[in-house]
Amino acid sequence: MLHRERIPLLWFFFQAVVVVAWCFTDMETGPGAGVSTQPNGDRFKIEGRAIVPGLKTQDWVSTARILVEGEEYVGFLRTDGSFAVNDVPSGSYVVEIVTPAHRFEPVRVDITSKGKMRARLVNYIKTSEVIRQPYPLQVRANGPHTYFMKRETWGWTDFLMNPMVMMMVLPLLIIVLLPKVVNTNDPEMRKEMEQSMNMLNPNPELPDVSELMTKLFSGSKGSSKAGSSSSKGTRPAVKRR
């Protein structure tokens, strides 16, 4: 009892040790401060055009932006879908067209110090690989964004195609149908079945579930037809499966 009381106390004690609070000292996180202060070095313009097939530009341009290397440089789309991002120094940039509705592939644009432009596919793993893309950029939307998962809908086909259901239904069919297909009244056939049955069943004394089942089914349905046919008659048919 004493021990048990001590643990929360200890816990409390060590909780008190946790004095990890947010610090109020002010720190500056100025990432590109050094870059932006550069006085007019050579600045260049990234140009291109974005196309959403089957849609008028005025329906989507107001929601779109051009992001160059994150939000380092920002551009906007003209009413005809073309764009130009001004004031970009030489370097290598990933240019993305972002809209909430359409998906565009990003493009890497390299600008030499003399202002030569080159566009290529973005490959973050092999960064030096060059697969040329047209410049000025021609970016075509490859479909809408898929934000949503499909709900699992419930349908009869899903239910029937379920393996568990199949495993239950097929044997049932066999149980019901086989006695009708195979003529159990034929004495030759019955003999043959019994023989094969004996081979399969090592312990004939043991009661069997399938036996019970067949008894039930043949009793209800075959009572008039198969008259006095004993349960023995149907048993091999089932076991044959």
Binding site: I7, F14, A21, F24, T29, R43, V61, V74, F76, T127
Partner: protein, 907 residues
């Protein structure tokens, strides 16, 4: 090999499918978004069409937007780069075009305001921007003039091309401040030599030739043309001077002498100490401004004057006219006004003085927030209150229970009655407005009060379920450069004590701080008066100690390293004395690169116990992240493939210190992470990423630290994860003490490529920490990605083995994927995400998320799916129909069996 590949694919598919996503029918069910624009700098009613419902606003957050005047909602919004490069200097509008000068005169943009698309954008010549105006001639406006420090340029409105550019004469002495055009084919540049004279240069619209140049008029009183002058009527420059209490008028065309009209001669008086303001209107740039103009003589005293053949006539005297800078007359009959108040509230008023809508633009700049549990309803509280007092006798307890049950019954009947009453009314009339009166906690504590602190000093209480603002409180003594820290001192759990939040407001320049204590549910200021804080505050910490009224103790460390407590009752001080030896805290001085740890003494003085100094010439401390105090870790270890357990190193005092090199050269820059024990100062681990630079985003939780940086070598963003493990055995499994932990933890680290830069990052948080964790990543595109932590696991194997398969580890892949299905906010993008706040709910599976930036977005996430409640798409119909079918099947088969038995008996 093929088999393995297929297996890998299968595994990936399986994993992806287990990850949560939003279903389409859930849109707007648990989430909401509010979009803002920020503090308005320029606004313009779109009046070129009579029926137009648009008002254009350009804000200090570098946002240009079009608002619906009927509802206050956004038609479209364009968010430019933050900082001075996206700064909007001027907004001009003509017809369907709006012209913006951006980035201190660097760019000239023209927008088509109906679509919200760009017409054109051009780069202007360098130079500091002064003023811009539209230039018209013969009733058509075709040009825009831009005045800079040394040059004036004229551009075509249709395509932005430059028509002419001219140097301004004597620009080294004359300070050109304004540009004006009255539609007569001339463009005037107005400059002033402070405290000396005015200079006016008239350019020809056609070729930029100087037509007239006048440098004259002794005007020692004038220093700022835009503040005190305005052009009215047929080009009459009118200035107002507070020293001589006079109006000065000068006809720009005649260039005659300046005439002085003392205000006294008009029978006017200026409020002492007030700088009078002149406001004129030029409805059409191709025509001269109106002859009527407004003169503000006092804070609440405006005059409408008219210039009539050189004489000034007082038209109307408004005694208190609240409308200021954003006044614009529609026509003589009606008016519509947008008013922005000090607390950044935008109100739209239409004749006859009807408030159409208000926008709380302060919410575009949320600094910090907390989520507070809602109180129980009165009846629930009554029941709870029963358990508080134990001294009562048996009889009174029974009576009390009976009475509270009675109250509950009463409340239930009232609820039923309300349901019945509402059911009779048409659905549209039934309102389920949330007000402070009917606020109460729901079953699973999913609805909470969001307390948001904004940079303007306005506090908001927002209902997390609907997003409606329940209370607002403007603090009007906020310093100019403030830092805020919001703390919950008492939750709603301690009825009848009211919940209590404390906001620490610190002036970043002086370090002096004040406390604002309030009730987070109602927003009311508490009657408890906080202690005065005469010394600058270095550090504040909230202790798990409570006073007799269940308020957590707040410790404040001042620059003398003295500690004061709030509340500081006798009880608290006594507890502090007892606990002093186990209270540690740390201070950071980033300018000195010093990290130091202190211990509290019993007399509330402090003692330095450790110090880590980072050489500031090489690197600087960027941020320090501890763990969240309300975080729970459910499992102490991880079960390995061979059924052994790898124990986590769960040090609650661990700090992750982010260092960045001062050298930003891409070959030499680096990013470092130091893991320091906050109590002992022991450096647990140090990791350095070479050829990398910030901004570094860090999440520190459980036994892991995830950070993101920019790799300068490969020009990509990379994630790195550090996990700490004790090993196969726990040293002391009951408690963790920093002072008694002899073995250094095992450190595992792995890095990944991330195909986007990120804005902010946070981890999900749940009640008991059983649910798996996700990282919530705010992207610049506006999406909020929910990335399962299991993708950032340093134990992800490169070669798949039986054991790793057993452990459910995903094979290592260098690149992390961004799947839009993982966006918790689907297409509801959140611009400029600055912070993501996560809070646990009453359900273990559910974590509440608020992302804030320019917009606010609230939603719920289920990192391990909803395992503890029925899903919202649970098919009640199916289950009940199956049950019914089974029931009838048994009935029928029973009947059949009976018949059969009967038949058999007959046989």
């Amino acid at each position: 090999a093929m088999a393995r590949l297929i297996w890998l694919c299968l595994k990936c598919i399986m994993l992806y499918s287990t990850v949560q996503a939003v279903f389409e029918d859930q849109v707007g069910k648990f989430d909401w978004r509010q979009q803002y624009v920020g503090k308005v700098r320029f606004s313009h009613f779109d009046s070129h069409v009579q029926s137009s419902k648009k008002v254009l606003v350009a804000t200090e957050n570098n946002v240009f937007a079009s608002l619906n005047t009927r509802t206050g909602e956004l038609f479209w919004r364009h968010v430019d780069k933050t900082g001075p490069e996206g700064n909007i200097d001027a907004l001009l509008q003509h017809g369907q075009d709006a012209v913006l000068v951006v980035g201190n005169g660097r760019l000239l943009r023209s927008w088509e305001i109906n679509i919200g698309g760009l017409n054109w954008e051009i780069v202007l010549d360098s130079g500091s921007f002064q003023s811009a105006c539209l230039v018209g001639q013969q009733d058509t406006v075709k040009h825009v003039a831009v005045l800079k420090k040394t040059i004036i340029s004229l551009h075509y409105l249709s395509n932005g091309h430059q028509k002419w550019i001219e140097n301004l004469p004597e620009s080294e002495t004359v300070d050109y401040q304004a540009v004006y055009s009255g539609g007569n084919g001339e463009v005037y540049a107005l400059g002033v030599v402070p405290h000396s004279h005015i200079a006016i240069v008239a350019y020809s619209l056609e070729d930029g030739e100087i037509i007239k140049q006048v440098i004259q008029m002794y005007t020692p009183w004038l220093s700022n043309i835009q503040a005190s002058c305005s052009v009215i009527d047929q080009g009459v420059l009118t200035c107002v001077d507070s020293a001589t209490v006079s109006l000065y008028m000068l006809d720009l065309h005649l260039q005659s002498q300046m005439t002085q009209i003392p205000l006294q001669s008009l029978g006017l008086e200026v409020t002492p100490g007030f700088q009078p303001v002149l406001v004129s209107t030029q409805p059409n740039p191709a025509r001269p401004p109106l002859s009527e103009f407004l003169l503000q003589l006092g804070p609440e005293h405006h005059l409408l004057l008219q210039l009539n053949n050189g004489h000034i006539v007082t038209l109307r005297d408004f005694k208190p006219l609240y409308v200021q800078a954003f006044l614009k007359k529609d026509d003589s009959v009606g008016y519509r006004v947008i008013v922005q108040t000090e607390d950044h509230t935008l109100t739209f008023i239409q004749q006859p003085g009807r408030v159409m809508w208000t926008r709380e633009e302060a919410l575009s700049d949320v600094v910090t927030m907390e989520m507070v549990d809602l109180p129980l309803t009165g009846t629930q509280a009554e029941l709870e209150g029963e358990f508080g007092k134990k001294a009562d006798g048996l009889m009174s307890m029974v009576l009390k229970r009976l009475s509270s049950q009675l109250i509950l019954l009463q409340a239930w009947i009232a609820h039923l009655w309300k349901l019945f009453y509402d059911a009779r009314k048409p659905r549209s009339q039934v309102k389920n407005d949330v007000t402070i009166e009917n606020l109460s906690r729901d079953e699973f504590n999913l609805q909470k009060m969001m307390v948001m602190v904004t940079a303007s000093g306005k506090l908001f209480g927002i209902d997390s379920k609907t997003g409606s603002i329940l209370w607002r409180h403007y603090l009007n003594n906020i310093p100019s450069n403030p830092a805020f820290k919001l703390m919950v001192q008492r939750t709603t759990a301690h009825f009848p004590h009211p919940p209590q939040c404390t906001l620490l407001i610190k002036d970043k320049d002086t370090g002096l701080a004040t406390l604002h204590v309030f009730n987070p549910i109602f927003g009311k200021k508490s009657h408890i008066s906080p202690p005065p804080l005469p010394q600058p505050i270095l550090q504040s910490l909230i202790l798990p100690l409570m006073d007799q009224d269940y308020a957590k103790v707040l410790l404040l460390v001042d620059d003398q390293y003295k500690v004061s407590a709030f509340p500081s009752t006798k009880n608290v001080l006594q507890q502090l004395q007892e606990m002093a030896s186990s209270i540690f805290f740390y201070l950071i001085d980033s300018s000195q690169g010093r990290l130091s740890g202190y211990r509290l003494r019993t007399d509330l003085s402090t003692e330095l116990i450790w110090e880590v100094v980072v050489p500031t010439e090489v690197q600087r401390i960027v941020s320090v992240k501890g763990k969240r105090p309300n975080e729970h870790v459910h499992s102490q270890g991880r079960v390995m493939g061979d059924r052994s357990v790898l124990y986590k190193y769960l040090n609650p005092n661990l700090l992750a210190v982010v260092l960045e090199s001062t050298d930003l050269h891409q070959e030499r820059s680096f990013v470092g992470i130091l893991l320091i024990d906050g109590v002992t100062g022991r450096i647990i681990h140090e990791a350095v990423q070479r050829k990398a630079r910030g901004p570094v985003h860090v999440v520190h939780s459980e036994n892991w630290v995830v950070y993101e940086y920019w790799s300068t070598k490969s020009r990509r963003n990379e994630f790195s994860v550090i996990e700490l493990y004790e090993g196969m055995e726990l040293y002391n499994s009951t408690v963790f003490s920093s002072l008694d932990r002899p073995h250094a933890p095992q450190v595992l680290q792995q890095s990944y490529i991330f195909p986007s830069s990120i804005s902010t990052m946070e981890a999900t948080l749940t009640e008991k920490g059983i649910t798996s964790r996700h990282l919530l990543i705010g992207l610049p595109s506006g999406g909020i990605l929910s990335l399962p932590k299991m993708f950032l696991d340093p134990r992800r194997p490169e070669i798949v083995t039986e054991q790793s398969r057993e452990e459910n580890l995903i094979p290592y892949a260098p690149e992390l994927l961004i799947r839009t299905e993982w966006f918790i906010n689907y297409n509801q993008t959140v611009s400029r995400v600055r912070g993501i706040y996560t809070a646990p709910s009453g359900l273990e599976s559910t974590c509440l998320v608020v992302a804030y930036g320019l917009d606010i977005y609230q939603t719920r996430v289920y990192p391990s799916k909803q395992f503890d409640v029925l899903k919202d798409d649970y098919d009640y119909m199916l289950i009940s129909s199956v049950l019914l079918a089974l029931f009838f099947a048994t009935m029928i088969s029973k009947r059949l069996a009976e018949v059969k038995l009967l038949n058999r008996a007959w046989r």
